[in-house]
């Protein structure tokens, strides 16, 4: 079985976000980049499947050379080989086409992505990629069990969950639940050593069509000072929520 795990290279969750170039570009200065947290759940689930069935795992990312340390980290966690498509991932349809061009040739049984990246949060690439590959798409996937080529998957729905069945190939856009936080894999020293020797192939981008562009970014306005209320006078809070905030 062949598994493809798509990896986004994103600012660490603790990052303070700033923009540069007249608020038209994200300021990566001083930012630590990590594997997109949603992708980590999928990568770990793929590792469990690999250990149980001997599946192979390819990881792929659309990005410039600066994203390679993130791909190396996924190899250190246990992916077998990595592919980087050399392009700035500025538009969802563009990225999904590039991924599809590669994946079509390879006949993967299972494609796993995160449900969205924590930087641009489009949540668009997974469903587009599934459509270009003509495979079923499960969004917000929180459970996967395989029995040969039969997959039982669980997806989050508003206020609950739904269990679905189908045959591979399919594409799952995962999140927490696919595995638990405590089961997430981190690179061990042996893995880091082995990762250096694993193949990382760079493919030049051929696709050029982009559908959207960002004109400008802005940060939320700073909050006015917090109104402090005495713990012995919670009635004042109720009064303010009624008369000032007008929410009750």
């Amino acid at each position: 079985m062949k598994i493809l795990v798509c990896i986004s290279h994103v600012p660490d969750t603790t990052s303070k976000i700033n923009f540069t170039n007249n608020n038209t570009e994200f300021d990566g200065n001083g930012i630590t980049f990590v594997i997109n947290p949603y992708d980590e759940f999928g990568l770990t689930r793929a590792m469990q499947i690999k250990e149980a069935t001997g599946a192979s795992i390819t990881v792929i990312n659309v990005g410039p050379a600066s994203t390679e340390p993130t791909l190396r980290k996924t190899l250190a966690i246990g992916a077998d080989d990595a592919v980087r498509i050399n392009a700035e991932p500025t538009d969802a349809a563009f990225v999904a086409r590039l991924l599809a061009n590669y994946a079509k040739e390879q006949n993967f049984d299972l494609v796993i992505t995160g449900r969205e990246s924590i930087d641009y949060n489009g949540g668009a690439v997974p469903g587009m990629l599934a459509t270009y590959l003509d495979v079923p798409f499960v969004n917000a996937c929180i459970g996967l069990e395989l029995d040969g080529t039969k997959a039982t998957v669980i997806r989050e729905i508003d206020g609950g969950k739904e269990t679905l069945e189908g045959n591979l190939p399919m594409l799952l856009a995962g999140q927490k639940g696919l595995v638990e936080e405590k089961d997430l894999r981190i690179p061990a020293m042996r893995g880091i050593m082995m990762a250096r020797k694993k193949p990382l192939t760079v493919i030049e981008a051929v696709e050029t069509v982009k559908q959207t562009s960002v004109l400008s970014f802005e940060l939320p306005e700073a909050k006015a000072a917090c109104t402090m209320i005495d713990a012995d006078n919670v009635e004042q809070l109720v009064e303010l929520l009624h008369s000032e905030a007008k929410v009750i």
Binding site: P11, T13, T14, I17, Y38, A92, A93, I118, D119, N121, G122, G123, A124, G127, M128, A130, Y132, D134, P136, F137, V138, N139, A140, R155, E156, I157, D158, G159, G160, E162, T163, L164, E165, G166, N167, M170, Q175, Q211, T212, V214, L215, F217, E218, L219, P220, K223, C226, T227, M228, I229, A231, V234, L237, V238, L240, L241, H242, A245, V247, I248
Partner: protein, 322 residues
Amino acid sequence: MAVLVYAESWNGSFKKATFEAVSYAAQLANKLGTESIALTFANNDDSTLLGKYGVNKVLTIANDSLATFNNQAYANAIIAAAENTGAETVVISNTNNGKAVAPIIAAKRNAALITNVLDLPDSLSPFTVKRKTFSSKAFAQYSTEAAQKVISITPNAIGAIETGGSAATESFYYAATESDNRLSSVSVDRVTGKIGLTEADIVVSAGRGLKGPENWGMIEELAELLGAATACSKPVADIGWRSHGEHVGQTGIAINPELYIAVGISGAIQHLAGVNASKNIVVINTDPEAPFFKAADYGIIGDAFEVVPKLIEALKVYKADN
């Protein structure tokens, strides 16, 4: 030219997010000088209700094969309705089901997809719209030149406006294909009677300051009194005190209610990312240095086990008087 909106049903009924999406589509169509059409599936509510929010026409799909949500079939049915009505723009609510159909529609129609949209377009040429980005830590103006568009709007961001209009209802038929049914639904496990987090007006949330899952009774009581949904911080979901479905924050659910009450949550940057779009934030924490106070509108420094019961009593008195 027309604008088509997917009027989502949950268990056969429209919800707030649906009326917001329908109202958005009607306002967008007005701006574009065209008509708006709503598409419903397996809906038991009165479909003409949607006309009150300004759409000109409602298409209803009632075939058995589409009685339950199936993202592939629903996406294809929405595409068929768009083709049938000549709609170029499809409006969707950014719910879990909305997110599962939007990219399929965009990919098949070669349309521009803009998700997490917060407002009507600032400009129509090029089409420019504000969306949330960087996990609610920032906003961005996105633009597209594409004629075909899919616009997915954030629940609770844009109010539903009643126009007092009325809409003609027509039935629409889409025959699901074999490839629409490559996945089959085995079971749906829905928590009924609880208010959905993303569309709740008020959310009461608690963190590790509560010391254990057995202490959530007062949080649930406070929520019930306010007609609020309950939520929790990431550590609380990770230790298993509450379900992951309640985790709000950067890697959980992003919310933007009218009122967010955080009890015993310090306010780490990852938590703030998911909740700082709330219009009013109340923070109750024992630690005066908790970073959450900087992001709050109202703060109480105090022990949750003393403050929350007092707040419940004060609210009961308020409710009795009002």
